[in-house]
Amino acid sequence: MGYSGARGGLEAILAAEDLVRRARDQADAPWAPTGQITARFRLAVDRVMGEGGIYHEPTAAAALRQAEGDPLEASHLVRAHRTTLPRLAVSEPTDPDEMIVLRRIVPAYRAPEGPQLLGRTTDYTGRLLEQPADRPEPQPREPRDVRERTEGQRRPGRFLDLLRKLDLVTDQRRRDDPEPVDITRKPPRPPAARSAVLSSMARAETGGLVAMWYRSILGPDGHVHEVTMGEIRHGRLPLRVRHPHTGNPVDVGEFRVTEAEAIENLDGPDEDRTKLDVGYGLCFGHNERKAIAMASMDIANRRFGRSGPLEQLLLLTVDGLDSAGFLEHLKLPHYVTFRSIVERKQAMRVVAETSAVPAVRLADQFAKEF
């Protein structure tokens, strides 16, 4: 039996882990059950579902709790969990027109087809900090006469379809129906199909995608217009799979998504400048910021992705696990590489001390021969 070293590290790791568990789980406060988190921290849960790339509220809530509220760490827990799971099926292609809307606004049009439905939002409420000591008393509600929901209210007509009717938008609908790229199985590298870019954005870190959008508008290397939003929706889509015995579609349930349409004013030399184009954003849960950034970047990618660095940026730099993981690896020991760097610095000094300026010396060596 030979060497069996390895001391030191393990005890420290276990102690650090224990410190987290005790401080978090045994804190002097009531336990936060999963239901508590999904009800009170809905948007954080939705964000973790989107960035983690897996739709299940209780899983995301548990991850948030374990991650002490760090959404990126929670997404990591969710993704690592997903790695252990088999893929049961790929759903039938969902048509977003089937969405039952919970919120739907059309900024570009005063009175579109269907309602301007604000839904659950504090967009139009003053951001005044409330600090209630306890659960606020429920406000009494006026009973209102609500008529039955019409089909137009459940599934209002899409603003894009109105633009199409007005012949204001270039029709680029594809007939060849390419298979979508699965970025979780095949790493997307530029040049990539648009489906890979859309998937990449759908599970991007929200802040990273928003920063990329903002940079594209204000950054020195950006060339994207501040687009007009055609429509923003939050609602439920059916999840549909083929029944293995009958081959017919089965509705398994519904998942909530946020959808955005961005309207771009075409002005490029090779573009039809009499028309508009539309970018598309869709992500899990209620996350309007991400859907809007995604819609804008979809149109930017289609216009400028290949001619500049944008496609590579969207495919390779917006994933939170990638960027944060790389950042965090800097915390690991690096004394071997550091030693290697220092050795070269010392060698350079020796060169500098033993010869004047090396570059000139080299050039001069040949200069004499001419």
């Binding site: 039996m1 030979g2 060497y3 069996s4 070293g5 390895a6 030191g8 590290g9 393990l10 420290a12 790791i13 990591h76 993704r79 690592a80 790695t83 252990t84 799971l85 088999p86 979780t184 199985r185 095949k186 790493p187 590298r189 530029p190 660095p309 590579q312 390779l316 696990l321 990638d322 944060a324 993981g325 790389f326 965090e328 690896h329 690991l332 020991p333 690096h334 004394y335 071997v336 590489t337 030693r339 290697s340 760097i341 050795e343 070269r344 610095k345 060698a347 350079m348 060169v351 010869s355 090396p358 570059a359 000139v360 080299l362 050039a363 001069d364 060596q365 040949f366 200069a367 001419f370």
Partner: protein, 601 residues
């Protein structure tokens, strides 16, 4: 027979491991590909692991892909079994796979490592799995992922050679530290994760299998046993490993191991803690270890630049003769931007006064343009901007695909093969020593951040030159010839004036003595006096080496100064051709007469 759903569910446990079986199969397939193509980065569907990307998620996936319950696993970080990352990974791997953990390399079958190759000489029982943060060796010289992929595919590694050249020029030695770029099996350049240079020789013709996993970047690659691994280095400047004169391990006294700082007082200890302990316990094969230590590669400042004096000037090989009379022949080149292709051409051209197709609205930038050029001859292509001359040139170069036409080079298959039909890679190679280009904007033909000598080195290394001193000698000769002072040879081109940049671009184009030279507005944008000097230089150079040149310009003075024959283009068509002085003194076509009148004004 169970009668309760709950009992049944309790009975039917679902398998939980870190990686589902489908993912493992995928990883094994990627590993097999990697072993078959040593050094090639195989993309794989990297899964998220319970460790951060960058904390060994790639290495972990590879390990989980190859390991089984009968294996023995050792994990080290910086050479140390007790490192925090190593500890974390080891317990996770052992827990989820049932493999036996060990710290003894001799017992291990799989060793996952971060930044080191163990000092123990590994054998065929070992699989060494590296955690790789950045798998792309070209990232430092090429940020575009698509372009880097192309460079690998075409073995186009000139840029990384230039970075070594620049390093030597600027610092007098190669300063690249860990993660030194390696040429594997003579084909792919590979990043060996940031292992120290000390470990590099131990990958060459090794007995063990090396697997590299980059989780965040979703790549797996390999160095199989008995594979050639060579650090990129010029033939005449030796590769060096780390060394501190007189350094020994404070604990075991070894001086033939990779040492790291022991503390803040200046001493050293082994980075490989297992080896250090075993040396102290007299449980190590010291002589076998010493045989494998890279002591022949310790830095020797005297040897670095020693071979410079013996370099002989390069004599270009004699031009092949006996083929066709011309060196370059262009037939029927056409370029249509937009719909319709050849069908868009009708109704365009000088007689219709438009280049826009009435049928499809496509722009017919050039159509039916033919010419040839013989060695020692210069042909002018003149016309106003928009006449299509630059389009024709860029089609000939291959910067844009031609809609119609063929291009033949006497140097390629004796002029029998249409080079436009060659694969992209072969066409790009032609630019190195078959058909060089001088662009109007020196920034297009040069890397402005690189020195004048480095720019020439790019062309030469692309053509296969590997002698640092031979490259420097050739670069100096060329710069001398184009009248760039040698004192500027090691300055970045960005610090040069426009005329000087153009001279460097010309020197670069001529570096490999190409038989054909294409010049696109070579003096446009330069002051008149500077332009005159460049023209003068070009004329001399063309005559000297019997180059076949095509000169595109809107300026009759340039065409007159450089060419014997000229083709006049208007609205995408050739309207007239002739001897250059004849076109200037006796132009026939109304368009040529207008050009001449304008030039005389």
């Amino acid at each position: 027979m169970p009668t309760s759903t709950m009992d049944l569910v309790a009975e039917l446990e679902q398998d939980t491991s870190l990686l589902d079986e489908g993912a493992k199969r995928e990883i094994r397939r990627a590993i097999l590909t990697a072993v078959c193509v040593p050094g090639y980065q195989v993309p794989f569907g990297s899964r998220e692991m319970p460790v951060a990307r960058g904390w060994g998620s790639g290495g972990l996936q590879v390990t989980l892909g190859v390991i089984g319950p009968t294996d023995t696993i050792k994990v080290i970080d910086q050479g140390d079994d007790a490192g925090v990352n190593a500890t974390n990974l080891r317990r996770m791997i052992a827990f989820s796979t049932g493999a036996e953990p060990t710290a003894d390399s001799r017992e291990a079958t799989v060793i996952q490592t971060r930044h080191r190759v163990p000092e123990e000489v590994l054998s065929k029982q070992h699989i060494l799995v590296f955690q790789v943060p950045v798998p792309e060796p070209l990232r430092g010289v090429e940020k575009s992922v698509a372009e880097a992929a192309r460079m690998h595919a075409e073995a186009d590694y000139a840029k990384i050679w230039v970075s070594l050249y620049e390093d030597l020029v600027r610092n007098g030695l190669i300063t690249k530290s860990g993660g030194y770029p390696l040429l594997v099996n003579g084909r792919y350049v590979m990043a060996p994760s940031p292992i120290p240079r000390w470990d590099v020789p131990r990958l060459h013709q090794a007995e063990h299998l090396n697997l590299f996993g980059a989780g965040r970047e979703k790549k797996i690659y390999a160095i199989p046993p008995h594979t050639d691994v060579a650090p990129l280095a010029f033939d005449d400047v030796p590769f060096e490993v780390e060394h501190a004169p007189g350094a020994r391990c404070q604990l075991c006294g070894s001086d033939d191991v990779f040492l790291v700082d022991a503390g803040t007082d200046g001493g050293y200890v082994c980075s490989d803690t297992e080896w250090c302990t075993r040396v102290r316990e007299k449980d190590a094969d010291l002589s076998n270890h010493r045989d494998h230590a890279p002591l022949d590669l310790l830095p020797d400042p005297a040897a670095r630049m020693a071979q410079g004096a013996d370099v002989q000037p390069w004599v270009p090989p004699a031009r092949v003769t006996g083929g066709p009379e011309w060196a370059l022949r262009v037939t029927g080149i056409g370029k249509v931007h937009g719909a319709g292709g050849a069908d868009a051409v009708a109704g365009t051209g000088p007689e219709y006064g438009t280049a826009i197709s009435p049928a499809t609205r496509a722009v017919v930038a050039a159509w039916d343009v033919s010419f040839d050029v013989a060695p020692g001859e210069a042909l002018g292509l003149i016309g106003e901007s928009g006449s299509g001359k630059s389009t024709v040139l860029s089609c000939v170069i291959g910067d844009q695909p031609a809609t119609a036409g063929q291009v033949y080079l006497a140097g390629v298959d004796d002029g029998r093969t249409d080079v436009l039909r060659l694969p992209d890679m072969a066409r790009r190679k032609l630019r190195i020593d078959g058909m060089a280009v001088v662009h109007q904007d020196p920034a297009e033909g040069l890397n402005l951040g690189v020195t004048a000598g480095g720019n020439i080195a790019e062309q030469l290394t692309a053509a296969g030159w590997r002698g640092f001193h031979a490259i420097r000698r050739r670069a100096a000769e060329l710069l001398e010839r184009v009248e760039v002072p040698l004192s500027r040879m090691d300055d970045p081109v960005r610090t040069f004036s426009g005329g000087m940049r153009q001279r460097v671009q010309i020197a670069k184009a001529l570096a490999t003595d190409p038989p054909v030279l294409l010049l696109d507005e070579p003096t446009t944008g330069l002051d008149a006096s500077v332009a005159a000097g460049v023209l003068d230089l070009l004329r001399g150079l063309l005559a000297e080496r019997d180059v076949a040149a095509v000169v595109v310009s809107h300026d009759f003075a340039v065409i007159e100064a450089l060419t014997d024959r000229t083709v006049v283009m208007q609205l995408g068509r050739v309207v007239e051709h002739g001897l250059t002085d004849q076109l200037f003194h006796d132009p026939h076509h109304p368009y040529t007469q207008r050009l001449v009148a304008a030039a005389r004004r």
